[in-house]
């Protein structure tokens, strides 16, 4: 497929994933603040930090407003100048889809375009004001619907694999970031013993990843920082765990690579394999020993390197004349 189109497939899904994750986090956080005694500054600041927006946010608003839920929600939802806001991610997702209308299925396009039209309409503002829970839930659900529609309406070949590649890579990074939130709120994770506030924080972390019920099905795992981190990093069956998604990234990369011995795809394959092997060589005890925050940081930076390698391999290849083959487009 055309390299530029593959790139848009990849990014469209990354942005859809960002919308889904952020909408869910905002919703969970609103519920979370209602049922704990955690201080206001620890409730909202981490979301700003995790979205990489602390600097810009503080520049624009007074220091105190980082603790003000309304201001934070508005900034993360509507602010066009915030590249991580729902508004920005949704616009990027839809813009990418619009440049590949001939590639995405009609149903996918209509779902995404509908959501975008609604989001920019007064109706969405009204819902935001009157029923915030329903507002975020709708965003989250439409993103999930988008994936389901893709699965059921796209040809299961390269364009679809590049979309799923984008989703898996984004999910691996997002789960690592979400798991790191606690580091920014109640401090580093050390041992097994935890305060009620910490326990509540771990439940919220699982909810951020829609992982509370899946986690509870792991009966041998007590609710603790260690087991939550173990689950979110290593559980192969959990569709948002870091390792699950890294393995999917490798799988999709194998599907879109041309048959060997062409060099296309080698660089990204090398980095993803190295990342997976590094993680598989550890268990949760080794991770805590090395520091959870440090491990998560290295996972996040590995996903960035994988993204860059995918870009070089597939989206912006240099074109040696010897690579000009005889087969057709």
């Amino acid at each position: 497929m055309i390299s530029r189109v593959a790139e848009s497939c990849f990014w469209m899904n990354r942005y859809v994933e960002r919308v889904e994750v952020l909408a869910r986090m905002l919703n969970v956080n609103r519920a979370f603040q209602l049922d704990t005694v955690i201080s206001t500054s620890d409730r909202w600041r981490p979301l700003v930090i995790v979205s990489g927006e602390e600097k810009r946010f503080l520049k624009r608003t007074a220091e105190a407003s980082v603790d003000d839920g309304e201001t934070v929600q508005h900034y993360l939802t509507w602010e066009e100048d915030n590249p991580s806001s729902l508004a920005s991610s949704l616009r990027e997702a839809r813009d990418n889809a619009r440049t590949i209308r001939e590639t995405v299925s009609l149903e996918m396009w209509e779902t995404l375009n509908d959501l975008w039209v609604w989001f920019n309409d007064r109706a969405a503002r009204r819902m935001y004001d009157r029923d915030r829970h329903e507002f975020y839930a709708r965003l989250r659900d439409q993103c999930l619907l988008f994936h389901g529609i893709a699965q059921a309406t796209m040809l299961h070949e390269d364009p679809f694999e590049f979309m799923r590649l984008g989703t898996a890579l984004e999910r691996a990074g997002q789960t690592a970031r979400v798991l790191d939130i606690k580091h920014h709120s109640v401090g580093p994770t050390e041992g097994e013993v935890e305060t009620p506030v910490e326990a509540a924080q771990w439940v919220a972390t699982l909810r951020f990843c829609s992982g509370i019920e899946p986690f509870l099905k792991r009966e041998d795992m007590p609710l603790s920082g260690k087991s939550v981190a173990d689950f979110l990093l290593f559980d192969l069956a959990f569709p948002r765990s870091v390792l699950h998604n890294l393995l999917r990234v490798r799988n999709f990369l194998n599907l879109v690579r041309p048959p060997l011995p062409t060099p296309i795809g080698q660089a990204s394959h090398a980095i993803i394999s190295e990342t997976i092997e590094g993680l598989e060589a550890m268990d949760i005890d080794r991770v805590l020993e090395a520091g959870l925050h440090e491990t998560l940081t290295s996972v996040v930076s590995a996903t960035a390197s994988i993204g860059a390698a995918i870009h070089r391999d597939f989206f912006d290849p240099s074109l040696p004349t010897s690579a000009v083959g005889e087969s057709s487009a």
């Binding site: 497929m1 055309i2 390299s3 530029r4 189109v5 593959a6 813009d95 619009r98 440049t99 590949i100 209308r101 001939e102 590639t103 396009w109 209509e110 375009n113 509908d114 039209v117 390269d158 590049f162 879109v256 041309p258 062409t262 296309i264 597939f314 290849p317 074109l319 004349t321 690579a323 000009v324 083959g325 005889e326 087969s327 057709s328 487009a329």
Partner: protein
């Protein structure tokens, strides 16, 4: 027809005096060919009609059937206003139009082959040499270059109007990159959705095969062997006003949509950059104008084109649809000579009439235009979209003076025509259903054979009293129904 509900929707309808109305005669009676459809619409009543119009508008917006607006913010998109009352063409009338269009395309294609070949028509002085070689769309670089299979005009849009007697006239030829066909197909899709009952009972010719016809025609002119062929649609990108159409056609043809940066030329062959490495391309349906196609040959500053593309084309390794240099054939200054072309190349009399045209380059014509400018429509030969135009009867003295001067300074650049009282069609307006002027752009596809899409794009001047149907100037569109022969 149910007369009570009929009153509700069309009771105040007054055809415009002096213009031919597509559905009603001079006495305000429904024309026989329109009776079935008007009856079906009236059966709906005004309230239903209103809600269907709203449903149609929402459908366009939700499906993203929009055009980009250049002047406004990045990414600004608008829907092309759509009117639910279809424009009707009876089968027999259409049959004659179709034959006339096919004939015209044959002649225009022969003219292009000749102009970039032996130039017989110039040698015999059937068309003044200066008019042809001085046309902005004539590209001397293309002399001696023959497109694959000899096809220059793969896709044409010929604009037709009807005069006060109802006679169809050719107003303008578009043989470079005529746009609008996606609206024809989408309008039909929306009509079927909002008027399923009306549609099922009206016996309308289908148009859905257009993309497949287009793909077959494009593939039929591809120069590469079967195992190396590849067809693509080349777009300037998402900011282009017709981007929706480019994407739509690629999707419906099932071929890749590419931008210039997705292609490159190597050993005079065109390749696409794909995730599996370079792949050969041998047919390009390009929606980029000639000057931007290849910075090595035409505009050096073009970022939209593909360096080396013209070289590959000249070698015969890639087919471009439409061919390069077609602008000389749809130049408004060449238009007056098309009937002569038909006689010259085909030894036939033109089936379709066209509008009497004064060529300002000719001394006697120019004198007439300067003296009668207040009765005429003056057009710059290289402008489109309703720009660079003076409508004499609606102009101010200052505008007329300005155009007189422009004509004297650059006569080759202007033609003039009497103002035709364009036909009208009942159209929904905020004041109810009123007559609004319409034109018609049929689409003609040529590969190994020629095929005419039944109907075409009916554009409507939504502004009361307006003659300008262009979307850039307040125009909208209607579905066009070619009614099948048989029980109405």
């Amino acid at each position: 027809m149910d007369n009570r509900s009929a009153k509700a929707l069309f009771k105040n309808y007054q055809p415009l005096p002096g213009a031919f109305d597509e559905c009603f005669d001079g006495e305000g009676r429904v024309r026989p060919e329109a009776a079935t459809v008007i009856g079906l619409l009236e059966g709906l009543g005004e309230r239903t009609f209103r809600s269907r119009q709203k449903l149609a508008d929402t459908t366009f917006l939700k499906s993203g059937i929009t055009f980009s607006v250049y002047s406004e913010n990045r990414g600004a998109e608008r829907i092309f206003p759509f009117d639910l009352i279809p424009r009707l063409i009876p089968a027999a009338e259409w049959q004659r139009l179709r034959e006339g269009l096919e004939q015209r395309i044959r002649a225009l294609n022969a003219f292009l082959a000749d102009v970039y070949g032996d130039q017989r028509i110039l040698a015999e002085n059937t068309i003044p040499r200066d008019m042809v070689l001085g046309a902005k769309g004539y590209l001397p670089e293309m002399k001696g270059v023959h497109p694959p299979k000899g096809v220059h005009v793969h896709i044409a849009g010929i604009d037709l109007i009807r005069d006060e007697d109802g006679t169809f006239l050719v107003l303008e030829d578009n043989v470079r990159t005529p746009s609008g066909v996606s609206y024809v197909l989408e309008n039909r899709m929306v009509m079927k959705k909002v008027f399923p009952g009306v549609f099922a009972n009206a016996h309308v010719n289908g148009i859905e095969e257009y993309p497949i016809r287009l793909r077959d025609a494009l593939e039929s002119v591809g120069p590469a062997p079967d195992d190396q062929d590849g067809t693509v649609v080349l777009t300037p990108g998402p900011l282009n006003s017709a981007y929706f159409e480019h994407s739509f056609l690629a999707r419906r043809m099932g071929v890749p949509l590419v931008e210039g940066r997705d292609l490159f030329v190597e050993r005079d062959m065109v390749f696409a950059k794909t995730t599996l490495g370079p792949r050969r391309v041998d047919v390009i349906y390009r929606r980029i104008d000639d000057p931007f196609l290849d910075p090595k040959v035409f505009r050096k500053d073009s970022l939209l084109g593909v360096p080396g593309l013209v070289g590959a084309y000249a070698k015969g390794n890639v087919a471009l649809a439409n061919a390069i240099g077609n602008g000389v054939a749809d130049d408004k200054g060449i238009y007056p000579f098309v009937p002569d072309m038909i006689r010259f190349y085909l030894s036939e009399e033109p089936i379709l009439s066209q509008v009497k045209t004064y060529v300002c380059e000719r001394d006697e014509d120019r004198k007439y235009v300067i003296d009668h400018i207040d009765e005429l429509v003056v057009k710059a030969v290289n402008e489109a979209g309703g720009y660079g135009m003076l409508i004499g009867p609606q102009s101010t003295r200052r505008e007329r003076q300005d155009f007189r001067q422009r004509i004297s300074e650059n006569p080759r650049n202007y033609i003039a025509q009497p103002r035709i009282e364009l036909s009208t069609c009942p159209t929904w307006t905020p004041k109810g259903i009123e007559p609004r002027r319409v034109d018609l752009r049929p689409y003609i596809i040529t590969g190994e054979n020629t095929w005419v899409l039944p109907g075409g794009l009916t554009r409507v001047a939504l502004v009361e009293g307006s003659y300008v149907v262009n979307s850039s100037q307040g125009g909208g569109s209607k579905d066009t129904w070619v009614l099948e022969e048989g029980p109405q």
